[in-house]
């Protein structure tokens, strides 16, 4: 049950500083969309506006519209807490709850939303861990602290935690930047599987990664430091990497800057 994201005229601010300006794009369900661009171009900020995490930052403010199918995330009366149930997120550094076991980490989101029977909960935890390709590695240590896993395992644990609550969209903010190549590969494989069930948006600094995992790629850039970041173009990944329509995109991809 993944959903379409339709962004129009979106700007985000930190206090009076405008971090991103007037972004519009559509993300189709069951696809992987990669955001690339130089540091500070606002791609992470933009990602965080998609589940209303941006406003958690002090001074964070958003203008514009983000439609999730028929519903505006920033409409009146929309509860940001409910939004985040629909739009899950995986962060740059693996952040399992350090005081919780592997099992409790995966169950954390489920426990928030109310009453599951013990067996039900166990089933969902198992399913989620299998979905994150982690089950075989942790099934004997479900009651050990989640912080005892390796970095790559921790990140997959975080993915399991995010998908356990069945979101419609999964946002990933540079999910592999803190991981070694083998763990990265595991996550990339996982992304390929997850897109069958979720709309996935991933921010990455790694161009090859964007090329490997995504169907569409969006390139962000900023005119100068202190200027707001903008969406330069979004297109099929193949086109972006072979024949982009904007010169700046080509310069960036071919390594001429950034």
């Amino acid at each position: 049950m993944s959903k379409r994201i339709d962004v129009s005229g979106l700007s985000a601010y930190y206090g009076s500083f405008r971090a991103i300006e007037d972004i519009s794009m559509t993300v189709e369900p069951r696809t992987v969309t990669a955001f690339i661009g130089p540091s500070g171009c606002g791609k992470s900020t933009f990602l965080r506006t998609l589940n209303r995490m941006h406003e958690v930052t002090p001074g964070g403010r958003v203008e514009g519209k983000v439609m999730l199918d028929e519903e505006n995330l920033y409409g009146t009366g929309v509860d940001p807490v409910a939004v985040r149930r629909e739009v899950g997120m995986v962060f740059q550094r693996p952040n399992p709850f350090p005081t919780m076991s592997v099992y409790d980490n995966v169950a954390a989101g489920l426990r928030l939303s109310g009453s599951y029977k013990k067996s039900e909960l166990g089933d969902i935890v198992e399913k989620s861990l299998k979905g994150a390709n982690l089950w075989n590695e942790v099934k004997d240590r479900l009651n050990k602290p989640g912080s005892g896993l390796s970095g790559g395992q921790q990140q997959r644990l975080c993915i399991a935690r995010a998908i356990a609550v069945e979101p419609k969209v999964l946002l990933m903010d540079e999910p592999c930047s803190a991981l070694d190549p083998i763990s990265t590969l595991a996550i990339e494989d996982l992304i390929g599987e997850l897109k069958e069930r979720f709309t996935i948006v991933i921010v990455t600094h790694n161009m090859q990664q964007a090329a490997r995992v995504s169907d569409k790629t969006a390139f962000f850039n900023l005119a100068a430091v202190g200027q707001p970041g903008k969406l330069i173009e979004i297109d099929d990944t193949e086109r972006i990497f072979s024949n982009p329509s904007v010169q700046a995109t080509e310069d960036y991809i071919s390594g001429r800057f950034g």
Partner: protein, 336 residues
């Protein structure tokens, strides 16, 4: 002072340019001397500290032994403090009870409130407000206890009557909260005053701990669709638990040893009141301050003996705190 033991760090590192043998010897002589003196001084200070600790234990024990050897009562169980009598009769039972009870009351009130204020400052209050408030609470932690005592005796005590009457009306049947209309200079008042005193201390440390909750753990909870309270339950409180425990122990240590605030507020007697509202009882520190003026040399030794018990209690509390923190260390998240 032993300054010749091994300490390779104390050797001067090789000079960048190889100097002549003569220069080398001269330099080494000079630096060795300087290093030795400095190391000696600093190590000596450390040793002095140990000596002081040992001396405290030895002198207190020695003088206490003098007193206890002549005590006709049982030092631990006697409900009396009569050191001028022949033979002298005294015991610490009432003091131990009062010290523990008043500290428990203080902790029961102060810890939840302090944790709530710490959360208020880190997660609820508007940013512009929380900075100055935290600063003021920081300063309040420095207000001398005698000022709390003065305020407690002259302001808090008269204002306790309403609460005491109310407690007596509705909870008097429990026996613990019955009140015979005496001046409210009782254990409950002492406990409340101690709570107010240790509140800034516990708040400060807890706030510091909560502030250090990894941002990414809070965001993880938020991204799962947690409300603010759920974020606190999932990420902030588990992370801060051991910090709050040590903060509480710090507060408890203060409450146990507090002298002036208790001495000014409590109306002491050498019996254990079943009601927390009726005046009476005493604490170690309060009893020492109150009885010291009239005490003979022997009486002072007896007070020293009671002080030794207080010392041991605080040591046990501090040790327990450290043990708790050590046990929780692996789950504290500080290593993440």
């Amino acid at each position: 002072m032993d300054i010749t033991t091994k300490n390779s760090d104390a050797n001067p590192p090789a000079a960048p340019q190889p100097p002549t043998a003569e220069e080398k010897r001269a330099a080494r002589g000079a630096t060795r001397l300087g290093d030795r003196v400095f190391l000696g001084l600093s190590r000596g200070s450390g040793i002095l500290l140990l000596v002081v600790m040992a001396a405290i234990a030895i002198f207190l024990t020695y003088r206490a032994a003098i007193a206890i050897s002549k005590d006709e009562g049982n030092f631990l169980t006697t409900f009396e403090w009569n050191t001028n009598a022949t033979p002298p009769v005294f015991g610490v039972a009432v003091l131990a009870f009062g010290t523990v009870i008043s500290s428990i009351i203080a902790m029961v009130i102060a810890v939840p409130v302090a944790v709530a204020i710490a959360l208020f400052l880190t997660h609820y209050a508007p940013r512009k407000l929380s900075g100055p408030i935290a600063y003021v609470i920081d300063l309040l932690a420095a207000v001398p206890s005698i000022v709390y005592g003065l305020w407690g005796a002259l302001i808090l005590v008269p204002n306790m009557k309403g609460l005491f009457g109310w407690l007596n009306d509705y909870f008097g049947w429990t026996g613990i909260f019955s009140w015979q209309e005496g001046a409210p200079r009782s254990m409950l008042t002492v406990g409340i005053l101690l709570a107010i005193m240790i509140l800034p201390v516990i708040t400060n440390v807890s706030r510091e701990v909560f502030r250090q909750t990894p941002r990414m753990n809070e965001e993880a909870a938020l991204a799962l669709g947690a409300t603010r309270w759920e974020v606190i339950r999932m990420a902030v409180l588990p992370f801060g638990r051991s910090g709050v425990i040590s903060a509480s122990m710090l507060g408890l240590g203060r409450a146990l040893g507090e002298t002036m605030a208790v001495a000014t507020v409590l109306s002491p007697s050498f019996l254990i009141q079943t009601s927390l509202l009726d005046p009476g009882g005493g604490t170690f520190a309060q009893n020492i301050a109150a009885k010291f003026g009239e005490a003979t040399e022997y009486g002072r030794d007896a007070l020293i003996a009671s002080g030794l018990v207080l010392f041991v209690i605080t040591l046990v509390v501090n040790g327990a705190a450290r043990a708790i923190i050590a046990r929780r260390a692996e789950y504290s998240g500080a290593n993440a």
